[in-house]
């Protein structure tokens, strides 16, 4: 048994709701209450703000849903789960910033033309893909019908081109450079 047991009970927060319509305020109020928090009508009594749509600027920590405010501590998509909203409210209330992991904010972008940056040869591309798929050098040699020595040679060349010193790094760097994502047309 641990001597310093923490009898931590998550405390209920006092949440002010800002939403564009009475229906949305009612829906979010229900959700926040079901999470065990108190909904307060006034900024003065609140510890954190849950805002959908445009939120009035203020000094209280704010979790925004859908439309994002530059100064909101928590940024969740409009379809965030109750668990995510609960965690974001708690985190924002204690001064943390929250965003959804792995969420690359969908924005309108140009085709990523990275042809000028790192250019691999066809063989290097094959070897890099195989490494990313988790194949060993021996398996790669068999699959591509080349010698083990040649696999190592191509892999070293890839690592030199992208400036890394291990296979793991090579895969993560190559992903970052977009070298593993094909363009599908």
């Amino acid at each position: 048994m641990n001597a310093v047991a923490l009898n931590f009970v998550p405390r209920a927060l006092r949440v002010m709701i800002v939403a564009p319509s009475p229906q949305r305020v009612a829906a979010l109020t229900r959700l926040v209450q079901e999470l065990g928090h108190f909904v307060v009508p006034m900024r003065s009594g609140a510890t954190v703000v849950l805002a959908e749509g445009s939120a009035p600027a203020g000094r209280l920590p704010t979790v925004s849903l859908g439309v994002h405010h530059e100064d909101a501590q928590g940024r969740l998509p409009s379809d965030a789960s109750p668990e995510q909203i609960d965690a974001a409210l708690r985190a924002a209330a204690v001064g943390l910033r929250v965003t959804v992991a792995g969420e690359t904010e969908r924005t309108f972008q140009a085709l990523d033309e990275n042809t000028g940056r790192v250019l691999l040869t066809p063989r290097e591309t094959d070897v890099l893909n195989a490494v990313a798929n988790g194949l060993t050098n021996k398996e790669i040699a068999r699959d591509l019908g080349i010698s083990l020595h040649t696999v190592k040679f191509h892999l070293e060349s890839v690592m030199r081109k992208i400036g890394v010193s291990s296979r793991t790094e090579a895969v993560s760097k190559a992903m970052g450079l977009g070298l593993l994502q094909p363009f599908r047309v």
Partner: protein, 297 residues
Amino acid sequence: MSPASNILTQFSAALSALASGARGFVAHVETQDGRELSGVLWKPNAVVVSEQILPDSGEYQVAVAGQTVKAQLAGRDEGTNVAVLKLASDLPQKLPGFTRPEVGSLALVLGAAAEGVSARLAVIRALGGAWESIAGGTIAHRIVLDTAIGSEEGGPVVAADGTLLGISTRGARRQGLVIPASTVDKSVGILLEKGSVERGWLGVALRPVAVPETLRPEGRQRIGLMVMDVAAGSPGAKAGILGGDIILSAGGAPATRFGNIARQLGPNSIGKTIEIHLARAGAIVTSAVTIEARKSG
């Protein structure tokens, strides 16, 4: 004493006149669950909104200059970030003429707000030629603003003379972009007529690679696009394209950039046959591919 009139008051008055003049075409769009967006009354019966932020909603409520009508989604074009809502009844429409801006000129980014319109002053930061979006749309020219886009997204961007530059769109890294009015207009026409913008499909996954020296066309082209994967039953498969082939050119354009391929797969490309030059097993092979419509989703 008469109130001061100087260049700043005149400048300010000109901006507010532009903003209030836009009330006739800035649309306020509301979804069934109360979410609000900005849009442009593009035609008497059609409102344009930003595709990337438009939530699905059975019905939308559109308000322009105090008049409210119901609307339904007519279609989305991810490629140009245009979605069109078709109005249940016509509204009086006053869309200004289209122009193209100059670098450094002023623009007013307009959006819908509870009390009419919101406005944000911007400078045209950069201009460029035609470009291709990730989703395969071709945008007639690149217009970058010096400001980020907030709740105005999808609303009109007007020039100092009140002409329409296009609709505001949030780009990568919070860059404020303008989809030119001419591009929007094209998508609106297609969406109202067909409900979707079809794009061409080859069914291949491509990666840029260094072309082996012996196979470089005219000894110059350093880059080709290697076929990583061919979808079963796709136009590429029917034309005999294989994984590992390196595309050197397609439809006469060198395969040095994705954009050179994407540009040939526009809405009018379906059914067309293009010639593709490939490097395969040390030789150059020519293959003819008939473009089909890309399955959406």
